[in-house]
């Protein structure tokens, strides 16, 4: 790297994967946004973008900002990936397009809507249970309990061993960061977890008629073989659980800490879906993803050389005052459409309609039964190099008078 290339770029010494940063990311997010449209992160020798305009533009320019060199810190052109790369997340067109078409065919909005009734039954039962308890941990007993039941049910994964899903997702999202202590801790005992996941990706272990089996059915239409179908099932299992759990946990945290906002959702439970959109903007479960430059590219007067890692701060873009009015205000009536919490462009979260359905159904069911949610102890963060969510969230709920 020549000195002249970087001379115009602001330089930051922040470590976005340090415990300090992850514990309270919003002040450093502001610092990065204010430093400039693109910032050099000295510690890792990478670039960062934290403003909505540049993050959105990079996500929508996969020809310049590629994914096949990995969407984490590791550069797959120089380092061997820890697992066979994802055919979706860690791929570029044209290969990516076949995989994407296969999975969008399976996860069409129509198909996702067909899951609503089954989800509603589970949500009503779960809400009944926690309302009876009055006090509960909104992570373990609520935000985690729901997706870890309805999601593998929908995919068609057998009951036994489902606890591996959370452990796997946690490790996969940690692996996008550096091999720090947070990553090492999550990688413990992963051999068995990965073995179980690999088995669950095989057709014979997936229930007929489930989303997993559907992937195998759709795959040949896009010239994908069974090995590729298995990798697509792996994508569902990697990306579909921890993200949703954190989104739901963050939702309850936002509602407990903004009682007026919960009152608005309780008054009109049909607002649950839009309220969740605001949660994803305000406390984005997926905070960051990397891209890699395919050529020298100029960003607002700074030239990034070819083959450079660029860290895109989705969560910082979602609170950029250049794009949002009063971005630090949690407002369930805001039109949050346009946030990049699910990414944007060809790699936008393919399960986003499924995530919205889960949230709509669960938060809606809670809103019909519960008039107030309050913290009942200190929430505890679950640190992850990529995800933002809670390990524990003790709450007390007050049922609405019948």
């Amino acid at each position: 790297m020549s000195a002249t290339i970087t001379s115009d770029a602001p330089v930051s010494r922040l470590d976005p994967f340090s415990e300090r940063f992850l514990n309270d990311p919003y002040p450093p997010h502001r610092e990065l946004r204010d430093a400039g449209p693109v910032v050099r992160l000295e510690r890792y020798g990478i670039w960062a973008m934290a403003r909505h305009e540049q993050v959105h533009a990079a996500l929508n320019d996969p020809e310049t900002f590629r994914s096949a060199a990995g969407v984490g810190l590791a550069d797959f052109t120089k380092e061997k990936p820890f697992r066979p790369p994802s055919l979706l997340l860690e791929a570029d067109p044209p290969e990516h397009s076949r995989a994407r078409r296969t999975i969008t065919g399976v996860l069409s909005p129509k198909r996702v809507r067909s899951l609503r009734e089954a989800f509603e039954r589970e949500a009503d039962a779960l809400v009944e249970r926690v309302v009876d308890q009055g006090r509960f941990d909104a992570v373990d007993e609520f935000a985690e309990a729901f997706p870890t039941k309805v999601f593998p049910d929908a995919v068609g994964v057998p009951d036994k061993g489902r606890e591996n899903l959370m452990a796997y997702g946690n490790m996969v999202f940690n692996a996008f960061g550096p091999q720090n202590e947070i990553f090492r801790e999550s990688a413990k005992g992963q051999d068995e977890v990965r073995e179980w996941i690999a088995e669950m990706c095989l057709r014979e272990n997936l229930r007929d008629g489930g989303l997993g089996a559907d992937i195998y059915e759709h795959a040949p239409r896009h010239e994908m073989g069974p090995d590729e179908a298995a990798l697509l099932v792996r994508s569902l299992l990697s990306a579909g659980v921890d993200t949703t759990v954190h989104g739901l946990g963050n939702a309850i945290y936002c509602f407990a800490t903004h009682p007026d906002q919960w009152a608005a959702v309780h008054a009109d439970p049909s607002r649950a879906r839009a309220a969740f959109e605001e949660v994803v903007r305000f406390e984005s479960p997926v905070q960051t993803f990397f891209r890699t430059t395919t050529r020298a590219v100029e960003v607002e007067g700074v030239t990034l050389p070819e083959g450079e890692k660029v860290l895109l701060f989705l969560a910082a873009a979602n609170r950029d005052p250049r794009h949002w009015e009063e971005p630090d205000r949690f407002d369930v009536e805001r039109r949050a459409s346009g946030h990049v919490g699910f990414g944007s462009g060809i790699h936008a979260c393919v399960g986003q309609m499924l995530a919205r359905l889960e949230a709509d159904v669960l938060i809606g069911a809670l809103a019909r039964r519960v008039e107030a949610i309050e913290l009942d102890g200190e929430p505890e963060l679950k640190l992850n190099n990529t995800l933002r969510g809670l390990a524990s969230l003790p709450v007390r709920v007050h049922p609405a008078s019948a």
Partner: protein, 107 residues
């Protein structure tokens, strides 16, 4: 700037001038026109920015991509030969005078 008219499901018409390159979805949202949800933010993922393109205009638009065509199978209001996703159509000078009808339901 080309003028585009949005007609709501109950027949109310609103004409707005849109910059070339703006999508019909953004044109509606930026002008406070109800009836477009665009839950996914314009990524062709949700089918909640469905519109019906009036008469001869449908022939004059760029063709639907395979992804758009597939998503139109998931619209909440009935799909017709006039159905398009407004996030996939960019305003151009050739579209001066375009009229689009908003559906009854998006979700």
């Amino acid at each position: 700037m080309p003028a585009v008219t949005y007609v709501s499901a109950d027949g109310a018409r609103e004409q707005v001038e849109l910059a070339v390159g703006t999508t019909l979805k953004d044109g509606a949202l930026e002008n406070g026109i109800d009836g477009i949800v665009a839950e996914c933010g314009g990524n062709a993922m949700c089918a909640t920015c469905h519109v019906y393109v009036d008469g001869a205009w449908i022939e004059r638009l760029p063709e639907r991509s395979e992804v758009e065509d597939e998503l139109l199978e998931s619209t909440a209001s009935e799909r017709t030969a006039a159905s398009r996703l407004s996030c996939q159509i960019k305003v151009s000078d050739e579209l001066e005078g375009l009229v689009v009808q908003l559906p009854e339901e998006q979700e």
